[in-house]
């Protein structure tokens, strides 16, 4: 078991989950409450990583980061090196790849909040932001936990995008799923099996948590 790549992957998944929460909460809020006609376009863009092959995302991300693209050249002039094959490239790729896993559960959760409660909060003089923090979010807490668990688990198991933009550097871009693939390629089945079992266990725990919380097997706030 390659612990270096394991902890690297956990670090990546945690960081991506935090970034996606910060991005996903406002996007999900906007998707739920906006009345713009072109809202469906934003929903389509957010949902695209669900249906696109990761290799497509990885391919375009690599092209965008390379010194042949304006974006890549701009970054190179700023920092002196290209972004591909760095941990930062994995973070960018994973944020794009896991975006729907944060936004869609959140938007679905916000949509189930009783509109009367939101209206009541507004008539009592609460600002939109205050209503969000005090009414909408607490009532969507299981959606929030679903989003966190899915985003974390999905990023842990990410393969295609990392394969395309990572360059497989130990300690920097070699994640667990890449490590498993390499072990299988090299026909080291025992080693591949160990690592794969750990990932299997993590996925099972994360998904069990999601379904248990959604079925209210446990009260989410037992101390209330």
């Amino acid at each position: 078991m390659d612990w270096q790549s394991f902890f690297l992957t956990v670090k990546l998944a945690l960081l991506v989950t935090v970034i996606l929460l910060a991005l996903g909460l406002p996007i999900a809020y906007w998707i739920t409450y906006s009345r713009r006609r072109w809202k469906f376009l934003v929903e389509a863009v957010v949902g695209m990583p669900l249906v696109l092959p990761p290799t497509v995302l990885g391919f375009y991300i690599l092209l965008a980061l390379g010194s042949r693209s304006p974006l890549g050249r701009w970054w190179e002039s700023l920092t002196g090196h290209t972004l591909a094959f760095t941990f930062g490239a994995l973070v960018i790729g994973s944020v794009i790849y896991s975006l729907p896993f944060t936004v869609q559960p959140l938007a679905a959760g916000f949509a189930t909040v009783d509109a009367k409660l939101v209206a009541a909060s507004a008539t009592l003089g609460a600002s939109g932001l205050r209503t969000f923090w005090r009414v909408i979010l607490p009532l969507s807490i299981s959606a929030l936990l679903t989003a966190v668990a899915l985003t974390f688990a999905h990023t842990m198991g990410e393969f295609g995008v990392v394969l395309m933009v990572g360059g497989n550097i130990p300690g920097i871009t070699r994640t667990v799923s890449i490590d498993i693939y390499d072990q299988v390629q090299a026909t080291n089945y025992a080693s591949a099996n160990q690592t794969a079992l750990v990932l299997l266990a993590i996925s099972f725990v994360a998904l069990s948590l999601v379904y248990a919380l959604n079925r209210r097997v446990w009260a989410i706030w037992p101390w209330r």
């Binding site: 690599l62 092209l63 980061l65 390379g66 010194s67 042949r68 693209s69 890549g72 090196h81 290209t82 591909a84 094959f85 394969l163 360059g167 497989n168 550097i169 693939y181 390499d182 299988v184 390629q185 090299a186 026909t187």
Partner: protein
């Protein structure tokens, strides 16, 4: 209606009639053969009247699949290690293992690169403009292992290890270079000579004494029902005509020849 049905039946039975004139062979081949093997197989089909179904992929993947019962008759690997492993496991015929071609390693840069690999050779690798060097993964790709061996031979490995990025195969390593994310790649000559790649970059042949020969081995798989035909195909790979095609696509004939 009856005419349509007859036409459909005719179309359906046509390939059957065709196949009956000769046997059909299923061949798994390493991805670096994707260009060289096509003309060789066409020759074989034309000259013997048999049909060959080709699958291209990574030698490691094929070895995994064969261990799990994949129905190939012949396996052309990009190295000797995987076929030897299959022989040891009893999944390939011991006597059938032989080297059919030897690969060559090259430095590869985009066409407009300022790196003068043609004059500087390996010393181009230490140019300050080189931030990343793309190679195939030495853990399982033969060309990756050869690249590391060559770097060690020129005592550049320790200096450059931090700059190496690993593609899953030489194709991905070349793509890292082509997209401008790495400045230089160490890849297979067969890949650098491919028509789609040839126009994109320039190459320099790494001296053959700096890495162990990239011998590519072929085996006939034990469960094959078509051993005679498989043997005929393996024999065909060694004839003068096939070896000339291998040379044309960046391979070297095995020493001594068959």
């Amino acid at each position: 209606m009856r005419a349509i049905l007859a036409a459909v039946l005719l179309v359906l039975t046509c390939p059957l009639a065709n196949a009956a004139s000769g046997g059909e062979l299923t061949v798994a081949a390493a991805a670096d053969l994707s260009l060289a093997l096509q003309p060789i197989v066409s020759n074989f089909q034309r000259q013997t009247g048999n049909t060959v179904r080709l699958s291209f992929g990574s030698s490691g993947d094929f070895t995994n699949q064969i261990q799990n019962g994949a129905p190939y008759d012949v396996f052309l690997s990009a190295d000797l290690g995987y076929p030897q492993k299959l022989v040891k496991l009893g999944l390939a015929d011991t006597g059938s293992l032989r080297t059919y071609a030897i690969g060559r390693l090259v430095l590869w840069v985009p066409r407009d690169s300022k790196l003068e690999i043609e004059h500087k050779g390996m010393q181009a690798l230490v140019d300050p403009a080189v931030h990343k060097i793309a190679i195939a993964n030495p853990q399982h790709a033969p060309y990756g292992r050869a690249a590391v061996a060559a770097l060690r031979h020129f005592q550049l490995y320790d200096k450059l290890a931090g700059k190496l990025v690993l593609g899953e195969n030489v194709g991905q390593a070349a793509q890292f270079v082509e997209s401008g994310n790495a400045q230089l790649g160490i890849i297979a000559l067969a890949h650098a000579l491919a028509p789609s790649v040839r126009t994109l970059g320039r190459y320099w042949l790494v001296p053959t004494d700096s890495y162990p020969p990239l011998q590519q081995g072929v085996v006939i798989l034990s469960h094959s029902q078509k051993k005679t035909l498989a043997g005929q195909f393996v024999e065909f790979l060694s004839n003068e005509q096939s070896q000339a095609i291998f040379r044309q696509f960046g391979f070297v004939a095995p020493a001594g020849g068959h």
